[in-house]
Amino acid sequence: MTRVSPPSEAAGGRLRVRAGRFPWLLVVPALGGLAFLVLPFAGLLARAPWATLGTRLLMPEVRGALWLSLTTATAATAVAVLLGVPLAWLLARADFPGRRLARALVTVPLVIPPVVGGVALLLALGRRGLVGRHLDAWFGLTLPFSPAAVVLAQVFVAMPFLVISVEGALRGADRRYEEAAATLGASRAVVFRRVTLPMVGPGVLAGAVLAWARALGEFGATITFAGNFPGRTQTMPLAIYLAMQESPESAIVLSLVLLGVSLVILVALRDRWTGAL
């Protein structure tokens, strides 16, 4: 059915379907999967109050929540890239004791409920937390209920996506290019910057987009660790949850806004980095 071309033919191993054989057997489950993912949004669109859409969008609290969401998610992605890429490199390339344990620990935030992550962040960085206690005593710094807490909550849930994505790219990259550069006299830093990074660039970008999207949708850890205050820590998902308590219509509108904005940004990114994703 499919055949992986050998690495010599094309780095990255493209998949080729032999001509004249359409994989009909996969169509039924594939369409089922697609329908399952798309159907809920059809429900949202069917119930959207189109008539009042415009007036609801102009509410200042909506703009505030959207702006906060976009800025914190972007900041969280930047932090995740700065800390996550070196971490991914260590996990993929360095041999150190406890590496398997470290890799398992990186994936913990993916499996624990975000609310529990929020409680854990409070117990570590809160006013009476393990580390937070000292931050408060020495620097007068309290993290919870601040925009910084929103970013930290998002980094906690989103960074694993980036690390896993970049680590996968590093493992799949052909190491001979780096070896060649090293034998030609490039220092480790130069090899990393000029050879490794460009090779795993698409992986970093895909991981960053995933992390950004996950940060944008973050709810549980944020409301638990950063609390909910309009203009300071109320991101779009929090505004949507609370709107749901009073009027499902408003919640649907806000959801559509978030959906629309993220689609626009993701599509724009994709055009800018043609073929990278």
């Binding site: 059915m1 994989p23 057997l25 996969l26 039924v28 489950p29 089922g32 409680v119 409070l122 117990l123 809160g126 006013r127 009476r128 919870p144 209920f145 409301i223 638990t224 950063a226 609390g227 909910n228 205050f229 309009p230 820590t233 949850y241 609370l242 709107a243 749901m244 308590q245 009073e246 499902p248």
Partner: protein, 256 residues
């Protein structure tokens, strides 16, 4: 190579899964389903309703009560969307009204208990809070419930009655979340129900005069389309009985 068998098996599995998830038309239930009464109840009723539920199961060997506890507004939304509930118990009249206006209440909702707010502070009261007016101090970190949920609406009423302006650091999604933030000492004070102060760990409650003006009434109603009207009526009766009142009183509610 994906072979025909694997693909067929995968497709079969998918269809089986979809079939398992599909809603079954009512009336397929055996004797088991005939006797279960499903109660949607406000989160602050968790402890008292579970205790009453044990008594109910003991007193009615042929019936069993099952609960779905959540924020009153969440439950009301689920009921609007046609969730299969037999009885609804809400933490305030506003939410119950929205269900009644939707013609889901089978009978006039009945009030069965009353709750009142307290200022909850961590046991060591780090900010030295004594009264409602202390919460207006910018140096005091206060958590309130969001105004969309009953405890937040009650807090707004109480603060207005007292003429106190409070800027909270957070508007929590429900009363239990505000309690947790206080227990952990992340906030210096929160306005939550008396019963939750009592159920909490390292917190102390401070009474204030305006609390009575912002008391909230818990009401209960049987819902239209209840699968088992007999057991549903029996459960509602137990909640409204003297025996029920005793349980509410013990937990710090004011029986009505």
């Amino acid at each position: 190579m994906v072979d025909r068998t694997t693909a067929a098996a995968a497709a079969g599995l998918l269809l089986a899964a979809l079939a398992a998830c599909a809603p079954t038309e009512g009336g397929d239930g055996g004797a088991q389903q005939e006797r279960t009464v499903t109660v949607f109840a406000a989160a602050s009723l968790t402890e008292v309703f579970e205790e009453l539920g044990e008594r109910f199961d003991r007193e009615h060997p042929h019936a069993h009560v099952e609960f779905n506890f959540a924020g009153s507004s969440d439950l009301a939304n689920q009921i609007h969307e046609g969730a299969p509930a037999d009885v609804f118990a809400s933490a305030d009249s506003r939410t119950m009204r929205s269900v009644a206006e939707d013609d889901r209440a089978a009978a006039e909702p009945a009030v069965f208990a009353r709750n009142a707010l307290r200022i909850a502070v961590p046991s060591d009261n780090p900010a030295g809070v004594e009264s409602l007016s202390d919460l207006a101090d910018p140096g005091v970190k206060v958590a309130l419930c969001a105004e969309e949920v009953p405890c937040g609406a009650a807090a707004a009423e109480a603060l207005e009655a007292a003429g106190v302006e409070v800027t909270p650091v957070s508007r929590e999604r429900d009363v239990k979340a505000a309690l947790t933030k206080t227990e952990l000492g992340e906030v210096d004070a929160a306005l939550i129900y008396r019963t939750d102060v009592r159920a909490g760990g390292d917190v102390a409650g401070i009474a204030f005069p305006e609390a009575e003006q912002a008391a909230n009434d818990y009401s209960i109603a049987m819902l239209t389309g209840a699968a088992n009207t007999g057991p549903a009526r029996a459960w509602t009766g137990l909640v409204l009985s003297d025996e029920g009142a005793e349980v509410f009183d013990d937990a710090g509610f004011t029986p009505v």
